[in-house]
Subunit: 235 residues, 2 copies
DNA sequence: CGACACCTTGAAGAGGTTCAAGAAATGTGG
DNA sequence: CCACATTTCTTGAACCTCTTCAAGGTGTCG
């Protein structure tokens, strides 16, 4: 973690508010929501925003940049549990034992909004919309992980990678980016870890998709040529 | 779902309260906590407490019996996402979209406490300990799923089954049962679905563990002879 | 007691891993 | 700005784990 000049900024003026905040707030509600963010912090590429074992104190909303979260076993094995992008929340793992159980590592220089959890709880007690929003955020994470379990438990390599790509473009599209073009922020190895495959398998599967004319790959630049073919692959 | 005679009972008198409720409540706090449970419902073996697509209205705490939760794809594939036992909470998946996204099926005749979610949210706003408890319950589920992802993403069959058995006995032990003896409530196929393996692999791996003198298996009755060997297998 | 669900075991096969080598990109220091 | 080191990616070949298919056994419940 590389804390920089804390900078107080309002959610109400943030262009990501549709992602972070509940919809349909009026101005006074918006103002109260602003209070949950105490500061912003910059994180350099490769640095950890938080790490397993660290004391939990806050949730983090990504303003810019991308992260991966990963869990690590005592014997050194690790598993990427997710890739997070602008507007997504990190740190929920830390609530239950007051310590984080995973690492959040920036895949590129990033900036996050710090939301002290005590303050979230305080405000949630007065402000039902924030309370329900928090519940939804956590529930969404649980449902997302169900999807990953399904992927890891029952899909084959091609299906996993197709599902992964579709999920990425869908989230990028929701943020105003192209539906067909994407720049991967993570290595083949990181994708492999997330999908329960080896980096060679990721590479080979990319090559196969390219041969089949489903995508175009140049390093980390991927263009989806045939979305329907990818969808068909998933089931 | 097979709703039976709703029966109002107090958490304060429940022998599972250490599992369901925050610890260290005084009597008046306990009394308020009681209010979250509206009724109890019996569920017959094989029946679903709730199913994917159903409107979400409540969380459920298991009083007796065992459940599995599973997600299903459009093309019929399904994945067991967890096995739940007494004192554990189900239904968190439904919060985010107001509809359930998985099924909860009783593995044997069961009884659950119904906790209407609106009431939980209301009481949470007045009662910080309940609020924090709910946050911990959700966070615990997220962390549990991280563990499953690690298992599915990076472990081999023997490691997965060893981890599964250790997790089961550990949870049973916390409920006062033996550390070494357990009665599986689920089929080999269900275990396989949970662990991302086929039922034949589960069967073979059980047989191998038995040959190696690590466990004793007679149908669904499993006795762990060498816990350390199982632990060693996991890493 | 018979039907049905569940479990075990074998043999063959497929999908993904491992090991290895080289190519392409990226970063670093002079 | 170029040479060099490092990281990342690709591809091939052999191997291994788990799956698939198949058959028979065991237990359970009406």
């Amino acid at each position: 973690m590389s804390p920089q000049t804390p900078l107080k900024v309002a959610c109400s003026g943030c262009n990501l508010r549709e992602l972070c905040m509940p919809v349909g707030l009026n101005d006074s509600e918006m103002a109260r929501f602003d209070e949950v963010v105490s500061s912003r912090v910059k994180v350099r590429r490769g640095a950890a925003l938080f790490s397993a074992g660290q004391k939990f104190s806050a949730l983090y909303a990504i303003r810019t940049g991308y992260f991966k979260t990963r869990v690590t076993t005592t014997d050194g094995r690790d598993q990427v549990t997710g890739f997070q992008m602008a507007g997504e929340i990190m740190g929920l793992d830390g609530i239950v034992n007051d310590h984080h159980t995973c690492d959040a590592v920036a895949l590129e220089d990033a900036e996050v909004c710090v939301m002290p959890f005590e303050r979230i709880e305080e405000l949630s007690r007065e402000f039902g919309k924030l309370q329900h929003h928090m519940h939804k955020v956590m529930s969404r994470e649980i449902v997302r992980e169900h999807g990953v379990m399904l992927l890891l438990g029952s899909m084959r390599a091609e299906e996993r990678l197709a599902a992964f790509l579709l999920n990425l473009v869908q989230r990028l599209h929701a943020r105003g980016f192209s539906q067909s073009e994407l720049l991967l922020r993570m290595t083949r190895e990181e994708i492999g870890s997330y999908l329960g495959l080896k980096l060679e398998t990721i590479s080979r599967t990319f090559s196969k998709f390219a041969e089949d004319g489903v995508i175009e790959v140049r390093q980390r630049h991927v263009r989806i040529l045939d979305t329907e073919a990818l969808r068909a692959l998933v089931h």
